[in-house]
Each structure stands twice: as C-alpha cells, then as structure tokens.
C-alpha cells in the first residue's frame, strides 16, 4: 500500500506540473549553491594539501621565526640539530645584502646562503638552472637570472662578493614575475646570488641569524618524536623565538582556515535551502486546501489519517528529492566550471579540480529529501487530521 501511495504522490506532483517545478527549482538553487561551495572547498583543500606536500614532504619540519613579518630571523645551531636522533639533515637558509662586483657592473644584491646537503632544496623551490650546474664546492656561486643580467656574468666568470672571488658555476632560469620569484622568507630568487652557507657565514661574521631552517627526518623515524626533540634542542641552545611546524600541522592549519570559510559560505547558501523549504511548505498548504474534498473522499472510502499523512509527505519529500538531485548535478557542474575558469584566469598548470565525494552526494540527497519532508510535515498533518465530514463539505 505504501507503494500505491507513493505512485499516487508522484501522479499528484506531476499533475500540478508548473507549481511542482517552481517548488523544485527553489530547492534546486539552494542545494546547487551548497554543493558547489562544498565541492570547490574540498577541491581547494585537496590541491593545497598536495602542493604543501610537494614543497615540504611528509618528513620535513620547517623552523620559522615566531611572530609576523618577513624581517624576523632565528638563530639556529645546525650542528646540534644534526645530532638529534632521527634527523637526516638540518639546513638553514639565510639571506644578506652583499656588494657584488661583476664583469660589467657592480651593486648591492641579496646573497642567499644554504646547504646543498639538502640537494632537493633547489627542486623544492622549483628553481631550474638555465646554464651550468649547482655548486659543489666552497667558493662557487649560482646566480639568479636577473642578478646575472645586472652584473653581466656568465658561467665560468669570476665575480667578487664582499671582496672575495667566487666562480659562477650556474645561472638559474628566470622565474615568472608575480609568482615564484620570491621563495620562503621573501627571498627574491631572480635577484639573488646563491652560495654555500659557510661562505655566507664567513662573509658576514656577526650573529648567525637565518630566515628559516629545514629539518629532514630520516626514513622510518617518528616525525612527532623528532619534532619534540628538535624543539627541545632549540630551547637548549637558547633559541626561543623559533616555531617548528610539521607537514601535518601546516596542512591542518590550512584546512582549519578553509573549513571555517567553507562552513560560513555553506551556511549562507543553506539559507536558500531554507527558503526552498518554505516554498515546499507553501505549495503543500495550497495543495491541502485545494484537495480538501479529495481528502474527505479518501477518508470516506477508508483512508486512515496515517495514509493521508504519508501521501502528502511523499509529495513534499519527492519535490525535495528531485530538487536535491538536480541541484546536486547543477552544483557539481558549477564547481567544475569554476575550477576550470580559476585555472585559466590564474594560469595554474595543475590547478584544483572540484571534489566529488560520496558523502557529499548522499548527504545532499538525504538533506534535500529531509527538507522536503519536514517542510511538508505541517501541511500533511493538517490534511491528516481533517475531520472527514468537514473535508467532504468543503467548497
């Protein structure tokens, strides 16, 4: 009998075609907005997590100065950090402004010192060599694309940095303006010269203050344990201004922020589902009024209150479900389109794509059916409780 009532509900909804569609569209728009936002949000989250993973890797700890500002620095005792069990490598990156004399011109340029012990470093900054190779010995230098141009140096030339000669062994490919031309800590990659950390330290005696450091965790070591130990060693060596961030935490922080934004936007979009639900309620109240006599007739021929209730709930739930299903499709379409458009606009190669999770699909369908059914509850109750005689007498 439930099946018969459902079939009857479908026919009733189809019968008042225009009104049903208008009601469905109300739910559709709301669901589409929520689904699109969630899908885009999940897609963004996924792609950011992937990128962070690419840059840092799971087994990397980032040591940054606590507090804001690109000028902040941190003192790192790399030797002590390398002693920590489970640490494969510890490097610091430090940039100073140096007086550079090239074959054609001289000037002040940023000089970045780092340790090629972390060979992946160059790859992680997406730095590509245009000519020559990376340095392998002290006294060698790699030039950023614009720095090379400014001082007129080629591979094999000797340039003088702070009165000491360095041999140019490689020149970096130019980084695209506006993105990628600065690395962490605000290093202007195009403008900078790169030397061994130890060379930099000799050129700039004074306190050894780095922009940031990396700790690579050895394979198999527990990242969180190593992190705790690194923090302890930093504190021991008198470095209190440093913050150690693991990959998990970094992605967690990004996710937390994104989730907050997403919940807020979805909440706003959710209001439109609410409005859609009110639309369903309105349609159902009208239907109850219009079909009062019909309800009376059904009761006269043996329909119980529960039958009438179920019939009207089916009708409203059905409109909710259809609206939700269509809204789901539209929402995913919008999200996919948005992903493509954003990819084009910002020329992201591996841009984000909208995420479609099973949870989202099932959630959206259940939710929209629920909105429909709940919106129909009061009208259906009114229909069910109509006294048969009054319903029959209704003009």
């Amino acid at each position: 009998m439930t099946r018969d009532l459902f079939v009857l509900a479908v026919r009733n909804v189809l019968h008042r075609r225009l009104r049903s569609w208008l009601t469905v569209i109300g739910i559709l728009i709301g669901t589409a907005a929520v689904v699109a936002l969630i899908s885009i949000g999940q897609g963004l989250q996924r792609s950011i997590t992937q990128q962070v993973e690419q840059i840092m890797g799971f087994n990397t700890l980032l040591i940054t100065p606590r507090g804001p500002g690109l000028q902040a620095r941190v003192q790192l005792d790399l030797a002590a950090l390398r002693e920590v069990p489970g640490v494969k490598a510890a490097v610091a990156v430090r940039t100073e402004t140096a007086f550079v004399q090239g074959p054609t011109r001289s000037g002040f340029l940023p000089l970045t010192g780092y340790d090629p012990a972390m060979e992946e470093f160059v790859a992680e900054l997406h730095l590509k060599l245009a000519a020559g190779e990376g340095f392998s010995q002290r006294g060698q230098v790699v030039l950023g694309a614009r720095a090379a141009e400014l001082i007129g140096a080629k591979v094999g030339d000797v340039v003088t940095i702070e009165d000491r000669p360095f041999r140019v062994v490689g020149i970096l490919a130019a980084q695209e303006e506006g993105r990628g031309d600065t690395a962490y800590g605000g290093i202007a990659v195009n403008d900078s010269l790169f030397v061994f950390y130890e060379d930099l330290k000799e050129l700039f005696p004074g306190p050894d203050l780095a922009q940031y450091g990396f700790v690579k965790v050895a394979p198999g070591a527990e990242v969180s344990a190593v992190k705790a130990e690194v923090e302890r060693v930093l504190a021991q060596t008198g470095t209190t201004e440093a913050e150690v961030i693991g990959f998990e935490e970094l992605t967690q922080r990004i996710k937390t922020v994104l989730r907050g934004v997403q919940a807020f936007l979805a909440g706003i979009a959710g209001i439109s589902i609410l409005v859609g639900g009110i639309g369903v309620m309105n349609t159902m109240y009208t239907a109850v009024l219009e079909r009062t006599r019909e309800i009376g007739v059904m009761k006269a021929v043996g329909a119980k209150n529960s039958h009438i209730l179920l019939l009207f709930l089916f009708e409203s739930g059905l409109m909710g479900l259809v609206g939700g299903a269509l809204g789901l499709l539209v929402g995913l379409g919008v999200a996919q389109t948005a992903a493509v458009v954003v990819g084009r606009l910002f020329q992201v190669e591996r841009g984000f794509s909208a995420a479609v999770s099973v949870g989202l699909v099932i959630g959206a369908l259940l939710f929209s059916f629920g909105v429909g059914a709940i919106s129909g509850l009061l009208p259906a109750r009114r229909a069910a409780l109509l006294p048969p005689v009054e319903a029959l007498r209704y003009e």
């Binding site: 019968h15 009376g296 006269a300 021929v301 043996g302 119980k304 005689v389 029959l392």
Partner: protein, 226 residues
C-alpha cells in the same frame, strides 16, 4: 428477530458557529435492518445529511449512541472507524466526489488500495464492477471526460467495490438530469433487490419513491413514516 445492521439511539448533533449553537439533530432513533431500502426525505436544513454522515461513521454525534451490527461504535478511534467505513459502508454523493486525477478504474479501486489489496486483484474487481454499471469501455477515462450520469455510475461501482453491507446515498440524483437520475435510481433499486441494504437521503419525492420505506425529517427530528 434479526440483528439490525445499524442503530442510532437518541442521537443529537449540535454545530457551533462561533458563539451560536445550531442544533442539527434533536434526538433521532433509527434502525436499519439488513436488506432494507430506506429513504429519508426532508427539506434542506432538516438534518438529513447530518444523519447520513453519522450513520456512515463520518461524523460523531454530540450525544446518543451509534451501534454497528450490535456493537457500540460511538467512541471508536478514527483509524478503526476508517476501517469500518472502508470495508462495510459504500457512499454515493450528490457531487459524485470522484478524484479528478484518477481514471474511472482507479477511482473504483481506491477503497481497496486503503485495505491493502493486491494490485491485480483490485484491478480485476474494479473492472468487473465498472462492467456491472455499464462502463466497461470507460475504464481509462478521467471523471472530467464522463457525463454526470456516467460519473455517478463510477461512484456506485466504487461504493460496491469492497462488497459493503450498507450503501448510503446522499441526493444521488441531485446533479443529474431526470433521465440519468431515473437510471441511477433504478440501479439502486436493483442493488436492493439483490440483497444490499440502502439508505437514501433526498428532498425529491420521486427519488424517494424507489425505496421500500420513507421516513420524513423536519427540524432535526424524524416525524414519521410516509
């Protein structure tokens, strides 16, 4: 002596219209024996429709008792009453009261749907009854595509579909031309001749004439047999 199918004892009904109380029935006793064909006649406002509604378990009396086959059903729950109506009472209304979105066949099937009958059985039963009322070729027609007389015949088929013990007809010819009206009355008489118990409410003396017994009502009371 046979058990009466339906008995009303001292039934009153008072409607409240805001502050005003309008008495519709002022103490009615009525016995309907199995096989009876009773007409209740009276001017509009005499309470005859109210009486029919209470007899059909569509409404509850303000006071008094309603006995169905000897059992007091006055204070039964709504669901139980719906079940009794569905299985044992068939209604024929002045305005036909067919569901406009359903075909003739589906309208006839409807009482069986609420009784949980299997689709095949109820379809077959409904088709049989449509044939009985001479509408075998109108199964797929919607009420809007049928004439008044045809609609009332569909309604009669619906009233008969669960093989009820009692048929209640409320001005069944009121919206029909005289030819169609006579046809419907003949059909009702035929049903009674084949053993159905009928109660017919009308203000039309000619319609009441098909019944075996006629009761006259005025001002909420049965005045006596005509």
């Amino acid at each position: 002596m046979t058990q009466p199918l339906l008995r009303l004892e001292g039934v009153t009904k008072v409607y409240r219209m805001g502050q005003v109380e309008v008495p519709a029935l002022r103490g009615v006793d009525l016995t309907v024996d199995p096989g009876a064909f009773l007409a209740i006649m009276g001017p509009s406002g005499s309470g005859k429709s109210t009486l029919l509604h209470i007899a059909g378990l569509l409404d509850r009396p303000t006071s008094g008792r309603v006995l169905w086959a000897g059992d007091d059903v006055t204070s039964l729950g709504a669901a139980r009453l719906a079940e009794l109506r569905g299985r044992h009472i068939g209604f024929v209304f002045q305005t036909f009261n067919l569901i406009p979105t359903l075909s003739a066949l589906e309208n006839v099937e409807l009482p069986l749907v609420f009784q949980g009958a299997r689709p095949r059985e109820r379809r077959q039963r409904a088709a049989e009854l449509l044939a009985v009322v001479g509408l075998a070729d109108r199964q797929r027609h919607r009420p809007g595509q049928l004439s008044g007389g045809e609609r009332q015949r569909v309604a009669i088929a619906r009233a008969l579909v669960s093989d009820p013990q009692l048929i209640l007809a409320d001005e069944p010819t009121g919206n029909l031309d005289s030819a169609a009206g006579r046809e419907i009355l003949e059909m009702l008489r035929g049903l009674n001749e084949r053993g159905k118990t009928l109660v017919l409410v009308t203000h039309d003396a000619e319609a009441a004439g098909v019944a075996r017994n006629i009761l006259r009502m005025r001002d909420g009371r049965i005045e006596g047999e005509a």
